[in-house]
C-alpha cells in the first residue's frame, strides 16, 4: 500500500471549485466529490451519502463537513464519518493543495476494487 500512496495526480487549479463547494471526479468506482472549504482545505470523498446515495457534492459545506442535500445527513469531510445521531461511513481519499492546484492520491481510484 505504501508504495501505491505515491500516485498523486494534479487534478485542477484550486479555483475550479468555489469556496464551500465541490466538484466531481469520475472514477471506475463511481463519482468522487472533491470539496473545498472556506479555509481552502480540500477533501475527496465518494459522492454518495450512506443513507440514500444522495449526491454529497451538491450539499452545503460548513466548517469541515457537508450536509447531504437529500435528507440533511451531515458528513465529516475529514473522516467521512456521519455526524450526530445518524451512523455511517463514506470512503475518503487523500487530497491536498500545492501551489494553488488540487492533488488527489489516486492509487485506490484507478485500481479495481481490492476486496
Amino acid at each position: 500500500m505504501s508504495t501505491l500512496m505515491n500516485d498523486w495526480i494534479d487534478i485542477s487549479p484550486l479555483d475550479a471549485i468555489p469556496q464551500r463547494g465541490a466538484r466531481l471526479l469520475r472514477t471506475i468506482h463511481g463519482c468522487v466529490a472533491v470539496f473545498r472549504t472556506a479555509k481552502d482545505e480540500v477533501f475527496a470523498l465518494d459522492n454518495a451519502c450512506p443513507h440514500k446515495n444522495g449526491p454529497l457534492a451538491e450539499g452545503i459545506v460548513h466548517g469541515s463537513a457537508v450536509t447531504c442535500p437529500l435528507h440533511n445527513w451531515v458528513i465529516s469531510l475529514e473522516t467521512g464519518e456521519v455526524q450526530g445521531a445518524d451512523e455511517g461511513q463514506v470512503a475518503t481519499y487523500p487530497a491536498r493543495v500545492e501551489d494553488g492546484r488540487i492533488w488527489v492520491e489516486a492509487s485506490r481510484l484507478r485500481r479495481r476494487a481490492v476486496a
Binding site: 468555489p18 466538484r23 449526491p55 451538491e58 450539499g59 452545503i60 466548517g63 442535500p69 440533511n72 481510484l109
Partner: protein, 809 residues
C-alpha cells in the same frame, strides 16, 4: 402566657403574614383565622389559569388543612365576621365570639358593582374569588354568549378564560383602549388584536346603560342604544377596599383602612394588611407591596421595629398569554421624547419615554425579557444619553458586546430584583442554587421566586443558566439552529439595526458558535441579507440549497427537472416546438404539464443543464424559477380576451405581474393567481396573493394555501386600476420579504402579524410607495435570467476530470 391573634380574611397578604410570624416565633401567638370563603389561603393570581382550565384549584392552594393543623391555627372558614368589639377586644363571628390581644384585618377588596338597572339579575357575577370562578366555569359549560364589563386585567382574564371555554365573549370597556392605566395606546391595540385573534370581541368607549332580563340576564344595553345578547355578564370594572367591618368599628377609614408605617390602624392593637389598607393616600393592588406589608405586620406583631416603604412600581403581567410590562410615567408631555421599537413579526412593541436624558417610563408588549433592566434605569435615574442609540434593544446590545441573551442577566447586581411578587433578588436565587437548588422547581420551592404570578420564570431560568453554566439547559424560544441562540426574529432585527451586511459580520456580531454556520442557518442568513441589503450584499450560491444553486430541482436519482417560464401561462407554437426539440435532444424521459400552467422536463442530467438552458434561451425562454423560494407562477384565466364572463384582462395583468416580480427572492415560494371574474377559474383565492377581477376593479387578497394546509385568501384591499394592482402587489411582496421568517409562506406570517397590521402598512399610501420602490430597487439586481448567467460558466457543471479514461489506457 401566649397572646391571642385573630386574623380576619385568608388572602395572599394574611397568608404571608402568618408565614413570617411562624417562621420567626411560632410560640408568640394563639392564632384564629376567619374567612368568609369556605377555604383557606390560595394564590388568587392563579384564578385565571383555573378559569381557563390550565390549573386546578388544588394546584393553587398555598396553605392546606395540614398546614393550619401543624401550626395549631384555629380555622373559622366559611364564617362571616359580624362585628369587631374593640372595647371588649372581641371579634364576633356568626358562630361565636373570640377574644383577641392583637387583631389583623385582611379583608381585601370587594368588586365594584356599577349601579345600573339589572345588576342583581341571575347570571350577573363578579370575578374575585374561587366561587366566582366556579360560577363562570359552570356558565361556560352551557355555552352561549358572555359580556364582560371592564377591560382591565381582571376583565380580560375573565374574557380570555370564557372564550377558551367556548363562550362567545364581548368585552365592554369604558375608556379608549384596554388597560389604560398600565398600557399606552399602541400596546393596548396589540393586546386588543391578540384578544380578537382568540375570538374575543372588544368594544372600547362602551358605556353600559342597563342589564336586561326578567329573572336571569338576557342582554346588555349600551348608552348609545346598542343591544348585546348575553347569557352571562361578568362585572370587572374595578375593586374597592373592603372596609365595612373597620368602619363599623369606628377605625379611621378613608378610601381604605388607614394605617401607619407599622401597619397599625388608628387602634394600635388592630393592624391591617393588603388591599383593604390605605397608606399615605395610596391603595395597593399588586402583590409585591402586599408582601412587603406582610413582612412589616409580622415584625410589628413581634414588637420588632419595622417600616413599610412604598416603592416605585412596575407592572409585569401576563394577560391571556401575552407578556406586557409597564413602569414609570409613560404619558406624553413637553420635553419628553419617545423611542419606539416595533417588530410586527413577533408582535413586539417597546416604547421608552425619556426626559432630561433619563428614562422615566417604559411600556413593553410581547417581549418583556429586558424589563428588569429598564426598570432599574428608571428607578436609579441613570443617565442614558450615551447608550441612547441602542437603548431600545436592551442591555445585551450596550457596549457593542455579543448579543448573548444571558449577558444581561449575568450583568445584573446581586440586589437586582428578579421576582417582583415575592421581592426575591438575584443574590438570593444564586445562594439557593449554590445550596443545591439546580432547577426551576427547586429554586421556586426554596425562594418562592416565580411562584406567584410566574412572569419572571424566564429570568429565574436565566439566572440558573448563568450560575450553573452548561449544567443547566435553558428552554429558550426556538433558535435558528445550533450555531446560535438567536431566533429568526432576533436575527432579522440585528441585521437591520446593526446594519450587518455580510455573513461574517452577522457571525461576529451575533456570536455564532461555528466558523461558518451550517445548512440550516446559512440559507436563512443569505436570504435575510439579500432582502435587507440588495445592493450591498451579494448572493452566495454556496449558502443555497442545491435547487437554488443549480437553478433546477434535484430529483431522487440525482437528475434535475427544467421548467421554462411561460408568462401568465401563455405560450406559442414556436416555444412548444423548442421545448419538444430540447426534450428530444437531451433524451428527457418525462414531460409533464404542471399545476402552474407550464411544462416540466424531468430527468435531465446535471452536466446537460447549461446546454438545455442555452437551447431554451435561444428560443426566447428563461428560467421559471420552479425551484426557488421566490416568485413561481402567476396563474391566469383567459379574461376578457375570450371569455364571455370576463370583466378585465386577467391574462394581460397576470403577464405584467409576472414580468414585474420574476427573479425576486422571498422567504418561501410565492404563487399568484389572477381570475377574470368571481367564477375564479385561475383559483386565485388559494394563492399567496390572489387577484379577482370584478366590474368595478380588482380585489386583492392574500394568505391562501393549497398544500399541506389549505386556506382561502383574505381580502387585503380593492383597487380600481391595473397600476394600483401592480403597486399593491409589489408593496405586499416587499413587506413579506422584509418581515417574514425564512420558510414562512404568507399565510403563516400573516397568522403572526395579523391581517390588520398588513392592511395598515399597505393602506398607508406613502408607505406603500416606499415599499414598492424598495422592491423595484432589489429587482433592478435580481430581475434577470439565472440560466443565461449559468450558461456562461457551463464548465463548472462538468466533472473535474475522468480517471476512468486514464485507467483504461
Amino acid at each position: 402566657m401566649r397572646q391571642k391573634l385573630v386574623v380576619i380574611g385568608a388572602g395572599m397578604a394574611s397568608g404571608r403574614v402568618l408565614e413570617h410570624l411562624l417562621e420567626q416565633n411560632p410560640e408568640a401567638y394563639d392564632i384564629t383565622i376567619f374567612n368568609a370563603e369556605a377555604r383557606g389561603n390560595y394564590n388568587r393570581i392563579m384564578l385565571s389559569p383555573v378559569l381557563s382550565g390550565d390549573k386546578t384549584y388544588a394546584e393553587i392552594v398555598t396553605h392546606d388543612d395540614d398546614w393550619y393543623a401543624t401550626n395549631n391555627i384555629t380555622c373559622r372558614f366559611g364564617e362571616h365576621v359580624v362585628k369587631i368589639d374593640r372595647d371588649a377586644k372581641q371579634v364576633v363571628g356568626q358562630n361565636g365570639t373570640v377574644d383577641y390581644d392583637k387583631l389583623l384585618i385582611a379583608t381585601g377588596s370587594a368588586p365594584f358593582i356599577i349601579p345600573v338597572q339589572g345588576k342583581d339579575l341571575q347570571g350577573v357575577i363578579t370575578y374575585r374569588d374561587l366561587d366566582d370562578t366556579n360560577a363562570m366555569i359552570e356558565a361556560a359549560g352551557k355555552g352561549g354568549k358572555a359580556v364582560v364589563i371592564g377591560g382591565g386585567l381582571l376583565g380580560l382574564e375573565a374574557a380570555a378564560g370564557l372564550a377558551e371555554r367556548g363562550m362567545e365573549v364581548t368585552v365592554l370597556h369604558l375608556m379608549g383602549h384596554l388597560m389604560e392605566r398600565q398600557l399606552d395606546e399602541s400596546a393596548g391595540f396589540l393586546l386588543r388584536r391578540d384578544l380578537e385573534q382568540k375570538g374575543v370581541t372588544v368594544m372600547c368607549g362602551a358605556s353600559t346603560a342597563a342589564i336586561l332580563g326578567e329573572t336571569h340576564v338576557e342582554g346588555v344595553m349600551l348608552e348609545d342604544n346598542t343591544g348585546l345578547e348575553a347569557d352571562l355578564v361578568v362585572m370587572a370594572v374595578g375593586i374597592r377596599p373592603e372596609t365595612r367591618l373597620a368602619n363599623d368599628a369606628a377605625l379611621d377609614v378613608n378610601r381604605g383602612i388607614e394605617v401607619n408605617a407599622q401597619m397599625q390602624t388608628s387602634d394600635p392593637d388592630v393592624l391591617a394588611v393588603g388591599e383593604c389598607v390605605e397608606f399615605n393616600g395610596a391603595l395597593f393592588g399588586l402583590v409585591a407591596p402586599l408582601y412587603d406589608q406582610a413582612k412589616v405586620v409580622a415584625q410589628t406583631l413581634l414588637d420588632q421595629p419595622a417600616v413599610f416603604v412604598s416603592k416605585e412600581l412596575s407592572t409585569k403581567l401576563k394577560v391571556t398569554g401575552c407578556d406586557l410590562f409597564s413602569a414609570g410615567d409613560f404619558a406624553e408631555g413637553e420635553g419628553r421624547e419617545d423611542i419606539v421599537f416595533r417588530d410586527p413579526g413577533r408582535g413586539v412593541y417597546r416604547r421608552l419615554v425619556l426626559e432630561d436624558d433619563c428614562l422615566i417610563g417604559a411600556v413593553m408588549y410581547g417581549d418583556t425579557t429586558d424589563s428588569n433592566w429598564f426598570f432599574g434605569l428608571i428607578r436609579d435615574k441613570t443617565e442614558v444619553a450615551e447608550m441612547r442609540e441602542t437603548l431600545i434593544f436592551g442591555p445585551s446590545f450596550q457596549g457593542g458586546s455579543a448579543a448573548d441573551p444571558l449577558l444581561a442577566v449575568a450583568a445584573l447586581p446581586r440586589d437586582a430584583e428578579i421576582c417582583g411578587c415575592n421581592g426575591i433578588c438575584k443574590g438570593q436565587i444564586e445562594d439557593a442554587i449554590a445550596a443545591g437548588a439546580h432547577d426551576l422547581g427547586a429554586v421556586r420551592a426554596v425562594t418562592k421566586a416565580s411562584g406567584s404570578c410566574g412572569t419572571c420564570t424566564g429570568l429565574v431560568e436565566q439566572v440558573l443558566a448563568v450560575t450553573l453554566g452548561d449544567d443547566f439547559v435553558l428552554p429558550t424560544s426556538q433558535p435558528v439552529c445550533g450555531c446560535t441562540d438567536m431566533t429568526h426574529e432576533d436575527l432579522r432585527r440585528m441585521i437591520k439595526s446593526q446594519e450587518l451586511k455580510s455573513m461574517p459580520a452577522v457571525w461576529q456580531a451575533c456570536g455564532w458558535k461555528t466558523s461558518c454556520g451550517c445548512h440550516v442557518c446559512r440559507p436563512a442568513l443569505n436570504y435575510y441579507l439579500l432582502a435587507d441589503w440588495p445592493v450591498e450584499y451579494h448572493d452566495d450560491p454556496q449558502s443555497r440549497f442545491v435547487n437554488e444553486r443549480k437553478h433546477a430541482n434535484i430529483q431522487k436519482d440525482g437528475t434535475f427537472s427544467v421548467v421554462p417560464r411561460m408568462w401568465g401561462g401563455i405560450t406559442t407554437p414556436d416555444e412548444l416546438r423548442a421545448i419538444a426539440d430540447a426534450a428530444d435532444k437531451f433524451a428527457v424521459p418525462t414531460v409533464k404539464v404542471t399545476g402552474g400552467q407550464r411544462i416540466d422536463l424531468l430527468g435531465v442530467k446535471g452536466e446537460d443543464l447549461p446546454a438545455i438552458w442555452d437551447d431554451l434561451n435561444k428560443a426566447g425562454m428563461v428560467s421559471g424559477h420552479a425551484y426557488s423560494k421566490g416568485l413561481r407562477t402567476v396563474k391566469t384565466c383567459v379574461g376578457t380576451d375570450h371569455c364571455r364572463f370576463g370583466t378585465q384582462d386577467s391574462t394581460g395583468l397576470g403577464i405584467k405581474l409576472e414580468k414585474a416580480l420574476w427573479g425576486s427572492w422571498t422567504p418561501h415560494k410565492l404563487k399568484l393567481g389572477v381570475s377574470g371574474c368571481p367564477r375564479n377559474c385561475a383559483e386565485a383565492t388559494c394563492k399567496d396573493i390572489g387577484i379577482v377581477c370584478v366590474d368595478s376593479g380588482f380585489q386583492i387578497s392574500i394568505g391562501g394555501a393549497a398544500g399541506m394546509d389549505v386556506r382561502e385568501t383574505e381580502l387585503l384591499c380593492q383597487v380600481e386600476t391595473e397600476a394600483e394592482v401592480m403597486e399593491v402587489v409589489m408593496a405586499m411582496t416587499q413587506l413579506f420579504r422584509e418581515n417574514a421568517k425564512y420558510l414562512d409562506r404568507i399565510y403563516k406570517w400573516m397568522a403572526k402579524v395579523g391581517l390588520d397590521w398588513i392592511k395598515e402598512q399597505i393602506d398607508d399610501l406613502d408607505n406603500r410607495t416606499a415599499l414598492a420602490e424598495r422592491f423595484e430597487l432589489s429587482q433592478s439586481i435580481y430581475r434577470k435570467d439565472p440560466w443565461a448567467e449559468h450558461v456562461k460558466k457551463a464548465d463548472s457543471y462538468q466533472t473535474l476530470g475522468d480517471l476512468t479514461l486514464e485507467a483504461a489506457e
